[in-house]
Amino acid sequence: MKTILLIEDSDDIRETTAEILEPANYKVMSAENGKIGVEIANQDKPDLVVCDIMMPVLDGYGVLYIFSQNPDLQNIPFIFLTAKTDRSDLRKGMDMGADDYLTKPLQEIELLNAIESCLKKLENMSNSFKNTHESIEEFYQKANKHSDLSSLSDHRKINNIKKKHIIYSAGDEPIRFFFLKSGKVKTYQTNRDGKEFITGLFNSGDFFGHIAIIENTEYQESSEALEDCEIIGIPKHDFLELITRNQSVANQFIKMLANDIQEKEKQLTQIAYNSIRKRMADALVMLSKKYKIANQEKFVIKISRDDLASVVGTATESLIRTLSDFKADNMIEINGSEIKILDERKLVNLRG
């Protein structure tokens, strides 16, 4: 049940409004002025706020300002319900970031509709912007299940790619994009000194190489098999046609791209500001999330030191030193090119 915080100084309006909202299946918390409203919100985070403007002690603008300054409260949908009907008041309220501005007197249905659409909007937003690895994973799976999208890879020739084999190189003209049926693939960029940085890691069920096609440019990165893979190439033409023809597939790709960008931004910030230990821990956790097989108790991955260094974004020498530190701390076990994560929780804590 969603909780609504109702901030209103008139006893009559507060009580009747609460009585209207409760049968509509909302839990209502009431406050008779802005100050009390803010206190309640801090204590008991509501899902939505309905707030009057003209109130003693702290007015509605003040409440919205406090909400906007508090990271815990700033995303809560905020609806003004007020007798101030001037256009300038409405503009002020909306400019300050209110989600809706309702003027008194109003019909019950107007209020209920406004609340419902605010809550729905928030839900949609949080669905598309969840920036966790799990949700990306889940999304790829969903995309994969999508009939049109998976039909792309149906009945097409499967290519077997050997480990270390280059699938495409930066600067190539993209004629196909790829569906990874099995195996692991990396995409990476190389700078002038030959230093490599991994831009993406893919597991079975993932699509890759689509960005260049969507952007209609040459490949900006190279792609190489980390182990023996089965991949399916999907002609550019088929892909573009599907995207232009089918809005829902296009939407799914847009979301995939948006999530990619957010991941990259996060990675960039980490490289810029985090210590190598933190980045190392993060890379190992990320690999485990990406490649851990169901029911596998301890995650094991076979990855070369060079590849791992270019995931973390550091020189191989520093990487080896950090790996030995981690080993000494009993967080990992190293066996040739195999790394086994012993204490994932510690790594998660370490990455902050």
Binding site: I13, T16, T17, P56, D59, K104
Partner: protein
């Protein structure tokens, strides 16, 4: 013309919208409570509507009083009456707007009978006292002192409310004026204007002493 526009704007504004909202929601709820056992809820909301209509009527009266004053249609009708009785009646009328824990403390000195316009004096008392209640916090006391002498009547209403700034005091009795610290409290900006005009009709003078966040005292001295 300017004033008419202002008046219309105000009519359409906050003072009317808030009670109308209550009536609207209460009516909507009454409609929903259809079962016999929900009679109590229905009654609660009809009571609410009645009370709000009472408030709306008062606001309307204020506007009409100003209209009448403008047209010069208000005259003092002198009669003899008992001030103790008048004040007790006023207290009863004010009961509905008294906040939690608020008290009146009234004191009459001198004669009990006065020779004045009863209705105008009553409106002055109601106006000043309701302001005192409205602008002071819960659990506060409003003092009302009436001193009836042979040639003067002195009326004092004091509260421990939000007070009025020196700057605002200059415009306090202007039509539609609202104190800068009163914008978030309901009101038409007509009450004190009416008080001043009525006092004038009774050949009296209004003065105010106030300090922000300490309190306010209104004094009316009427020469008989």
């Amino acid at each position: 013309m300017d004033d008419i526009i202002k008046l219309k704007l105000l009519m359409a504004s906050h003072e009317f919208r808030t009670p109308l909202t209550t009536i609207q929601s209460a009516a909507c709820l009454i409609e929903k409570y259809q079962k016999t056992e929900e009679q109590e809820k229905r009654e609660r909301h009809t009571q609410r509507i009645k009370a709000v209509v009472g408030n709306l009527t008062n606001i309307l009266e204020e506007f009409l009083s100003v209209g009448k004053l403008e047209e010069g249609r208000v005259e003092a009708k002198i009669s003899i009456f008992n001030t103790q009785e008048l004040i007790e009646k006023c207290m009863l009328d004010l009961k509905s707007i008294t906040k939690k824990g608020q008290k009146f403390d009234f004191q009459i000195t001198g004669n009990n009978e006065v020779f004045l316009d009863k209705s105008l004096l009553r409106k002055i008392i109601i106006n000043l006292c309701s302001n005192a209640l409205k602008f002071s916090p819960v659990n506060s006391t409003v003092n009302l002192v009436v001193d009836n002498q042979e040639d003067t009547v002195i009326l004092k209403v004091s509260d421990n409310g939000i007070g009025i700034s020196k700057e605002d005091q200059k415009h306090l009795f202007d039509r539609f004026f609202r104190g800068t610290n009163a914008t978030n409290i309901q009101g038409t900006g007509l009450g004190l204007h009416i008080v001043a005009r009525y006092a004038e009709l009774l050949k009296g003078q209004v003065s105010v002493e106030s300090e922000l966040n300490v309190g306010t005292t209104f004094t009316i001295i009427i020469n008989l």
